[in-house]
Subunit: 226 residues, 2 copies
Amino acid sequence: MTNTVGTIRTGGTVAVVRGEEELVRRTSHQFAAATDIACAAIDLRTWSAARTESGIRAALCGRDGAEVRLRKVYRPNVLLDPVSAAHLREIRDTRGAQIRITPDEINETILIDRRIAILAGDPRLGERSFSIVTQPEVVQGVTSLFDAAWRSATTVDAYDARIAELRDIAPQVLDLLGRGVKDEAAARTLGLGVRTYRRRVAELMEALGASSRFQAGVRARELGLV
Amino acid sequence: MTNTVGTIRTGGTVAVVRGEEELVRRTSHQFAAATDIACAAIDLRTWSAARTESGIRAALCGRDGAEVRLRKVYRPNVLLDPVSAAHLREIRDTRGAQIRITPDEINETILIDRRIAILAGDPRLGERSFSIVTQPEVVQGVTSLFDAAWRSATTVDAYDARIAELRDIAPQVLDLLGRGVKDEAAARTLGLGVRTYRRRVAELMEALGASSRFQAGVRARELGLV
DNA sequence: CCGCGATCGGCAACAACCTGCCAAGGCCGT
DNA sequence: ACGGCCTTGGCAGGTTGTTGCCGATCGCGG
């Protein structure tokens, strides 16, 4: 089931694995030795599913924690869900993770010590596939892109403050939108002005990375927010 | 886990079961003796999941088939998916099921011989719950409502003809909508006029029972069409 | 009390979307 | 060929959603 593709001999290869257990099995020793881990994800499920999480946590918990640089970039939607937001703060506090938020479209990626890149494939249809890349030039390129995204991203605290009030009413707004209620009526039921309601919808769409309401509906459903 | 609520003694009760296996276990003998089965559903998963289907099919396949009246009402969205549409025709042909389509919002329901009503609860959060009702007045009331819906519904053939051309391009339209593409651009990429593209979107929304594009996005995602 | 910053919500201009109308063109049975 | 039937797509007029602007209001620290 594991498909390894040899490349021109420079010591680097690209391996494709299917499923998270397989990924953990193949990479946990890399995590154990790492001093610099960078991670991009659009929600908390991806690298935090019980299997992955327990595997990697096990590899990390024996470590001091101060000596490993842990950077994580998420999309704004993780802050829409109170549970996710809390979990985020927790992993920041227990381990010394630096967490930032970016509005850009990013694929899910892990970088270990600027030597290994793990890129996640499309999650549709059963088990997800992951590419483990050690080819130096590729890893270098991916790393530079990650660093750029990292620099342009804002810290979680700054972003969190900006959407604090949004998070409170987001569930109600999403509910109204999901029932096909017109802005006029929705604003009334929430006791808001139409302008303010639309402000909330716009912020919501930005957080979901959607450029149309249809797209926002799809994303919201994907994330289980409706 | 099974919660049975006794009511005023008239021979009728309401039982609530959780999960489809449990439902099949409790009702398969009813299906075996039935001569009139009516069924309402919004997609094919609900009563056709492997467990339910195999259980009920087993109960029915020993029967002649001509002597049992089988009526099914679906929402239009089942015709959007080619696989679903084909499956629909198959159960119509192999057994003598009459199938109709209604644009109304209907909850998922089964009626057996106008004596027993099975109503499905909200599918959110784990296993679904089902209410099995034998209380005569309730069953009578539900039956009358079902009959009304049945009469106002159109036959699957009539409806199928109406959305035949829609089904062909629905995936592409959904893809464009899901990527947040503007109508103008989407129409161009499909080689359609904007008016026609919007006609397709409107038909799609009607089929999904959505009154806003956000809602359509949610529904489309729920049904796995995007 | 005043000033400051932030949010609210009305207004307006605009963009996007929705739909009835209708002429143009394709398809089919006669 | 002809007439009926359907789909198409332009147009127009309507509704809904999007956004900048700006004064009103609130809370807070000085």
